[in-house]
């Protein structure tokens, strides 16, 4: 998504990314980024919390007016609540190491089959 933002911006369309993977976005470099420090999935606010969603979109829209240079980042003032999700995402430990190894083998077989069938698109594999 960061690459799309860069392409639009290079062609004269101001962009804003609202996201939750700050390292990925900043590693790529984007013009304007609003960071929601939430688990991946709800960067525009917690589900059904309309006031929070309104606050986040309002802050983001304002960045079109206030940002004067690329790589401008802000954080929303909102917290998710409990923080266990930070350790939990794509965790690898002794409880799932074997399962992940088997899953990888299965996926590689699937990828080979897709390649043989001419499929040229493949998604990222990390999951929650």
């Amino acid at each position: 998504m960061s690459l799309v933002a860069r392409h639009l911006e290079a062609n004269g369309i101001p962009t804003l990314i609202i996201g939750s993977a700050i390292d990925v976005v900043q590693h790529c470099g984007v013009p304007r980024y609003l960071h929601s420090d939430f688990p991946l999935g709800n960067p525009c606010g917690k589900p059904y919390d309309k006031d929070m969603q309104r606050g986040i979109i309002g802050q983001g829209i304002d960045m079109f007016r206030t940002a004067t240079k690329p790589n401008t980042s802000e954080r929303t003032p909102y917290e998710w609540g409990e923080n266990n999700w930070r350790d939990d995402y794509s965790r690898v430990d002794d409880n799932n190491r074997e399962e992940l190894s088997l899953r990888g083998e299965k996926r590689r077989m699937q990828q080979q089959a897709e390649k043989a069938a001419g499929v040229s698109r493949s998604s990222m594999i990390a999951d929650g």
Binding site: L16, P43, I57, M124
Partner: protein, 158 residues
């Protein structure tokens, strides 16, 4: 209690791939220069476009990952998100407003903050291949932005 810190998704993804037996680490896009386009007109005259990584919740959207334009009104009740790498064990995507900000943007249009919302929003697939994004999807999205006379774009990766 868990410490508050920024999760490094680059590290987590690397370790997750390695655990699945992938020998080559994914190389994330990295740039030293970033383009910047200032606003060309006041916000309250701007037509806002929305781009999201969720696919349309249709037969084709569920099976064929590509760029899709979808009408912004009426706001869809759901989007297809199952194949994306969001944190499925701790949250959900049943409230579309948590990742597709059309309702909130409508509110800002009503308040006179933003000029309007583009007639269509766009789905763009997350891709392992940066070449697919750079050579195919990003130019497709730009063409759609021109067709819909978009002045500013809000992009939401799940």
């Amino acid at each position: 209690m868990t410490e508050v810190y920024d999760v490094s998704y680059i590290e987590r993804t690397r370790d997750y791939y390695r655990a699945q037996g992938y020998e080559k680490d994914y190389v994330w896009a990295h740039n030293t220069n970033t383009p910047f386009a200032p606003l060309s007109k006041p916000l309250n005259e701007c037509n806002a476009g929305v781009i999201v990584t969720a696919m349309p919740d249709t037969g084709e959207g569920r099976t064929n990952r590509r760029v899709y334009p979808t009408l912004s009104s009426p706001i869809p009740k759901s989007m297809y998100t199952s194949e994306l790498s969001w944190h499925q064990s701790v949250t959900h995507t049943e409230d579309i407003g948590s990742f597709l900000p059309l309702e909130q943007l409508n509110g800002l249009v009503g308040e006179g903050v933003v000029g309007g919302i583009a007639r269509r929003f766009y789905s763009v697939p997350t891709e392992y291949s940066q070449g697919n994004t750079i050579d195919k999807d990003a130019p497709d999205i730009l063409n759609h932005c021109h067709e819909d006379e978009i002045d500013i774009a809000i992009l939401v990766p799940l």
